[in-house]
């Protein structure tokens, strides 16, 4: 960038009112004055060198100046540090000798006097202070006129109470003066107040203060006027003016209490049937272990009866109750249902008894009431202790025997048999015989009335076919097929066959007769053999035609085929349609069920077989008779085996 171009630019800048650029050749000074002067200086090599030298010199100077400045600053800092270091060491050290100790004996003696005087003065001052303190000793008189913010009654306990000045602002109640209070007492009062608030009902009609004048809605007085605080003032002698106040309050309180006691004494002893809510303790019923059950039951019974036996006098009458024995058995049955009631009743009974005992006076009405109560109570069946074995009574037996489905079936069957018997008994001997047998079976089944238990005797195979049939039926080993229908079908079939046979023989007979007649008439003798054959063939066809027509009619009206599809598996069991389908399917596909299904099926079959072989009265399993009894036993958690 040469000076000429710069100057040119400077011209423009000048025109724009901007700061001119420094021209390299020009001297430093001419900033303010016009650059025209600068132009005079020739920009030669010398001038430029000079300028360079100048610049270099200036630079060196500046550097030097800076160096000097820094040195100076370092020196100053050094000096300051040194001064500081020595400053810390100034003062008297331990080893330094005290200036005063340097005093000679004479001067020390002089100062000694002064020192003595000073000690004296301080001692005197102390004494004066102590004397002042002693003079300012407080007595009870000083407290005269000071209020105490508590009820006087609360100080009657005799304990020492420490009262402190109440915490208020300095200027708050200047005219009232200071108040004393005991913090712990204040706390107690507050607590009491809160408890009262919690306890007190909004309106208590018994809480009428007769001595005080009546004020309407006095309970709100506190809220409106603020709390009335019990305050008393200490007098000079330390006694209070408001002794009356102390004595009043407790008297009132005592009076009310006495009244309460009277009321209590007058009130009849509580013999409500309902426990007070506070007394009730609900005990969560635990799961009883079956092992301990029986023992506990026995305990319960014992307790109950011990209580009964323990009472004496008029209570003795209750135990003498003939009804108890009668109801024993029934009680056993409904034991489970009435367990809750039992508890309730016993507790009620105990309560009533206690109430009666408390009353003592035996007025005639009371006795009557007592008797009535006893009567109602004796309706409740009671226990007899002792029998813990399994009891099979009429009801469980009856329930065992009860099988509604079977009863209905039997009824229907009986009705049918009866109707059939009437019109068929004359038909053939065998059927009649069978029917009579069945009738006898029915007669065996029917009479519930004269049987004590309602259970029929089990039939024996040795008694005959009918008995066997009954036995099997009872045990559901054979289905109760509708025998009469089958019988009817069978008879019709037989009838049809007989008819058929009869017709056939009839035809044969007729044909034979005709042939005889023809031969006898000699009509055929004239004819040749061929002709004879021709004629006989003709006759035969005619006969056959007739025969077939007749047979056709016979079949049409008389033939009722009984189609029965019966499937039998490899073991010889008859299968129902579903099983048969499965079996056939398996056979067709050459592939049976899997292991699980097969096992299941085999198990089922074995079960069925076992059931069929089981005895009706086998108590070890829950079959037939023993179900109800065993159920009862389980419910009552009794162990027991039925032997017969």
């Amino acid at each position: 960038m040469d000076a000429a171009s710069i100057e040119e630019i400077n011209k423009v800048r000048w025109a724009m009112g901007m700061k001119p650029l420094p021209v390299p050749g020009a001297t430093e000074a001419p900033r303010g004055p016009s650059p025209d002067k600068d132009q005079d200086v020739a920009s030669t090599l010398e001038t430029r060198e000079a300028a360079a030298y100048d610049n270099f010199r200036k630079l060196r100077e500046a550097e030097e100046a800076k160096k000097r400045r820094e040195e100076k600053a370092a020196a100053v800092k050094n000096a300051r540090d040194k001064a500081q270091r020595f400053a810390t060491l100034e003062g008297r050290g331990l080893a330094d000798l005290d200036d005063e100790d340097d005093l000679d004996a004479k001067s020390w003696l002089k100062t000694q006097k002064k020192r003595q005087k000073k000690i004296e003065a301080t001692r005197k001052l102390d004494e004066e202070k102590a004397a002042a303190d002693a003079a300012a000793q407080h007595t009870a008189d000083d407290l005269a006129g000071v209020k105490v913010a508590h009820d006087m009654a609360s100080f009657l306990d005799g304990d020492e109470q420490i009262l402190t000045l109440k915490d208020t602002g300095v200027l708050e109640n200047e005219e009232e003066g200071d108040e004393l209070e005991n913090l712990s007492l204040r706390e107690q009062e507050k607590l009491q107040e809160r408890l009262d608030l919690k306890k007190k009902p909004l309106y208590d009609p018994n809480d009428i203060d007769e001595t005080a004048e009546h004020v309407i809605l006095s309970k709100y007085d506190e809220e409106i006027d603020g709390k009335k605080r019990k305050v008393f003032t200490l007098e000079g002698a330390g006694t209070s003016t408001e002794l009356a106040d102390i004595l009043d309050a407790p008297v009132q309180r005592r009076k009310r209490q006495a009244a309460d006691i009277e009321v209590l004494e007058d009130a009849p002893p509580r013999n409500s049937d309902y426990l007070d809510a506070s007394e009730v303790k609900v005990k969560k019923p635990k799961k009883k272990k079956s092992k301990t059950t029986r023992q506990r039951r026995a305990d319960d019974e014992d307790a109950l009866f011990a209580g009964d036996l323990g009472t004496t006098g008029d209570d003795q009458e209750m135990d003498v109750d003939s009804g108890a024995v009668i109801y024993t058995k029934k009680k056993k049955v409904f034991d489970d249902n009435l367990l809750d009631d039992e508890d309730l009743q016993t507790s009620l009974a105990m309560q009533r008894k206690e109430a009666l005992k408390k009353r003592k006076k035996t007025r005639p009405e009371d006795i009557a009431r007592q008797l009535r109560e006893e009567g109602s109570q004796s309706l409740e069946p009671e226990f007899l202790e002792g029998d813990k074995g399994m009891v099979i009574d009429e009801i469980s037996g009856f329930v065992d025997a009860l099988n509604p489905e079977r009863l209905e079936e039997r009824k229907a069957a009986k009705a049918k048999a009866a109707t059939e018997m009437q019109d068929e008994s004359s038909d053939d001997e065998e059927m009649a015989d069978a029917d009579t047998k069945r009738e006898s079976v029915d007669r065996d089944m029917t009479p519930y009335a004269d049987m004590s238990t309602g259970v029929e005797e089990e039939k024996l195979v040795g008694q005959g076919m009918a008995a066997t049939l009954g036995l099997l039926k009872d045990r559901h080993l054979i289905e109760d097929t509708n025998g009469s229908e089958l019988n009817e079908k069978f008879r019709q079939k037989q009838k049809f066959l007989a008819e058929l046979h009869r017709r056939m023989t009839l035809f044969d007979e007729e044909a034979r007769h005709q042939r005889e007649r023809d031969r006898a008439s000699g009509r055929l003798d004239k004819l040749s053999i061929r002709e004879r054959e021709e004629i006989s063939r003709q006759q035969n066809t005619m006969r056959e035609q007739h025969q077939s027509r007749v047979m056709d009619q016979l079949f049409r009206e008389g033939y009722r085929p009984n189609v029965e599809l019966r499937y039998v598996d490899d073991d010889g069991r008859s299968l129902d349609a579903k099983e048969a389908f499965k079996d056939l399917s398996h056979k067709f596909h050459g592939k049976g069920s899997g292991k699980g299904k097969t096992d299941k099926r085999l198990k089922r079959l074995a079960e069925e077989k076992r059931r069929m072989a089981q005895s009706m009265l086998d108590a070890s399993q829950n079959v037939g008779m023993s179900t109800a009894a065993s159920h009862q036993g389980k419910k009552r958690k009794e162990a027991g085996v039925r032997l017969a």
């Binding site: 960038m1 171009s5 800048r13 724009m16 700061k19 650029l21």
Partner: protein, 77 residues
Amino acid sequence: MIVVTVNDRLGTKAQIPAFASDLVKHFKIMVAMKVGREPHEILLKRQGERPFKDQLTLADYGVSNGVQLDLEVDTGD
């Protein structure tokens, strides 16, 4: 004083002395003088950055001695 190189990448390249404290507006006048184009047609920018604004100084854009600025035609928008 700084010397700024202004280059439109089409063959025009100029070196312009200025103070860093000069406004871009004034600097553009200098450029105009050197390049022969109207000042309002001049748009200066650093390479790859946004154009300079007239009201700011060169120092504001960090232009120091020997910096090259791109010169473009300012179409006014």
